[in-house]
């Protein structure tokens, strides 16, 4: 067998390459002049991601073309994941604006921060486009490793390091389990290419029959490893600690993009690769979904720290999204499961990054991150309070906010799949979640302000929050095209 060095289809790689270019540029500028980097890094990261976003339009995703052999798949699914990752990345950069501007970490470069953030975005995009286990794994790790570092970014603060350490140790542990699962799949099917795996399995699995234990073991090891990435109970425990410990913009980021990567990986691995085992994993995800949403939403009630509360709430949302995946039925056109999850992630990016963004905004003004700190915010900063209220209500699932649409599509998917019990669980848990989301609104609107308040100007952060608030408010109304895009996944994953 001779060496085959085939030139890849570069045109398919334009978006990740733009991101990569941005990273390189950031690092280069930083190497030349730290001062210049500080001034140009933010706009650069923004422009880079925006360009990448725009370049998504240049590719004909409908073909489902692969490059680098079958390693890289430019299909609808990859498009949507890239889209969400880039949008979330842009929003995170906006949220980061205030934080770094304020000089919290004066000794640490902004450029590295943004470079790591972009690495993570890049990794997520790679996961979305992965055609085999290795690429998928590398993408996941790239996404994760960057976030480990980002979590510890406020390294002067012990909690930040503590959160990062916990995240890292458990993440590595889970990675080992995940890779073990992949090894098993490889060993049983003889391939690491997702489509080949599905093909092989289809020939050996009869629906309704018990499975070979090894196959089940492989499946479960994968599920555990991926369950960690998306923070499903009982693999979730790093989440609240890491969210609380990380610098707030990083919390904002890590609540969304790694989760996108995780769900993309779940979709690639389970939905695409192990589709013949859907009977088994759909049931498993259903159970995990239930436990996850119950645990996350209930424990969030007991929290007083907003970031921690949002951490638990993120677990709850993982539960909803898992429920969406559990609604998988046929993988044919009309199956809404993965599409609903993709849309959920899209919506989640706006509202959750927004919520963390408001917390960052408050920290800029000298407040802490507890419930007491937002008391009376509506009197002090009505717009900020309104923005936060929008995010909270959207997370709660109040129409006509974006979060409602997301939840609606998941419920729709579930009911179409006949999983009524999960749909009911979602709405019951939504009611429970109203407890703690509403408490934030209550604090802001119904209480008198306390604490000190330092008026500062954070225009970029404000802009970001405004964008997210408006999007949360209005995107649902015109969610048709996005949803339509998200619903094209069967063409990619089947």
């Amino acid at each position: 067998m001779p060496l085959r060095l085939v030139a890849p289809e570069w045109s398919l790689l334009v978006p990740p390459l733009i991101v990569l270019g941005t990273i390189v540029l950031l690092l280069a500028i930083d190497a030349v002049s730290e001062r210049a980097a500080r001034q140009t890094a933010l706009p650069l990261a923004l422009v880079g991601q925006l360009l990448a976003l725009a370049s998504l339009a240049t590719i004909d995703w409908g073909e489902g073309t692969t490059t680098f052999g079958v390693s890289y798949r430019a299909d609808w699914f990859a498009l949507v994941v890239s889209l969400i990752a880039l949008v979330a990345g842009i929003l995170s950069v906006l949220v980061s604006a205030g934080y770094t501007e304020s000089g919290l970490e004066p000794g640490v470069g902004l450029a590295e921060y943004l470079a790591l953030l972009l690495f993570s975005v890049l990794g997520t995009m790679v996961v979305g486009a992965a055609g085999d286990f290795i690429v998928l794994l590398l993408g996941l790790e790239m996404s994760a490793v960057a976030v480990y570092a980002l979590t510890a970014f406020a390294r002067r603060r012990l909690t930040s390091v503590e959160g990062a350490l916990k995240y890292f140790l458990l993440g590595a542990f889970a990675s080992a389990i995940l890779i073990y699962g992949m090894a098993w799949v490889y060993g049983l099917t003889g391939s690491i290419v997702l489509s080949d795996i599905a093909h092989t399995l289809r020939t050996v699995v009869t629906p309704g029959q018990p499975l070979d234990p090894a196959l089940l073991l492989a499946l479960l090891l994968l599920a555990v490893g991926l369950g960690f990435k998306i923070a499903a109970v009982p693999f979730h425990m790093w989440t609240p600690d890491a969210y609380q410990g990380a610098p707030t913009p990083v919390s904002a980021y890590m609540s969304v993009v790694p989760k996108v990567a995780g769900f993309a990986a779940v979709a690639r691995v389970l939905v695409q690769g192990l589709q013949p085992l859907s009977e088994q994993w759909a049931g498993l995800l259903g159970i995990l979904a239930l436990i996850t949403m119950v645990y996350g939403n209930v424990v969030a009630i007991a929290q007083r720290d907003l970031k921690r509360m949002l951490g638990y709430s993120a677990i709850g949302h993982t539960g909803y999204m898992l429920a969406g995946l559990a609604a998988f039925t046929t993988g044919l056109a009309g199956d809404r499961s993965v599409g609903s999850v993709l849309f959920y992630l899209f919506a989640y990016a706006f509202m959750n990054i927004g919520a963390f963004g408001v917390i960052a905004w408050l920290q800029e003004r000298g407040l802490g991150t507890t419930l007491d700190d937002v008391a009376g915010l509506a009197g002090r900063a009505p717009l900020a309070a309104l923005t936060m209220a929008i995010f909270m209500l959207s997370l709660m699932g109040m129409p006509p906010l974006l979060g409602f649409y997301a939840k609606y599509y998941v419920i729709l998917a579930l009911i179409e799949a006949g999983q009524l019990w999960l749909a009911v669980a979602i709405v019951v848990m939504s009611a429970v979640s109203a407890f703690f989301y509403l408490r934030v609104v209550t604090q802001m609107y119904f209480q008198e302000p306390g604490g000190t308040w330092r008026p500062v100007r954070t225009p970029l952060l404000g802009l970001g929050l405004a964008v997210m608030a408006v999007a949360t408010l209005a995107l649902g109304l015109v969610s048709g095209p996005i949803l339509e895009l998200a619903q094209r996944w069967p063409a990619a994953l089947t």
């Binding site: 480990y148 002067r156 350490l165 140790l169 890779i179 090894a183 060993g187």
Partner: protein, 102 residues
Amino acid sequence: MSELSATHFLLLSAALFIIGMVGVLTRRNVLVIFMCIELMLNAVNVSLIGFAWELHQLTGQVFALFVIAIAAAEAVVGLGIVMALTRRADTVDIDELRQLRE
């Protein structure tokens, strides 16, 4: 079992993996936990090599190669975090890191 087969590799791999896992579960020293994770990754590699040998493929070996790379990357970041940690708190005992809880 008389001939060497992938099963041997797999059993070794399982043993190493689980020893590593038990180590992660029981040790308090961050660095030892870290080593245990490396042990687990290494165990996975044993599986991969065993499978590859059985299947007459190189894919498993390639995979193992990348796993090593991943392990290295994790090691780099992990040790960076440990460095940052020891600067903040003079300990590598994870049981002492309990500020974030409940």
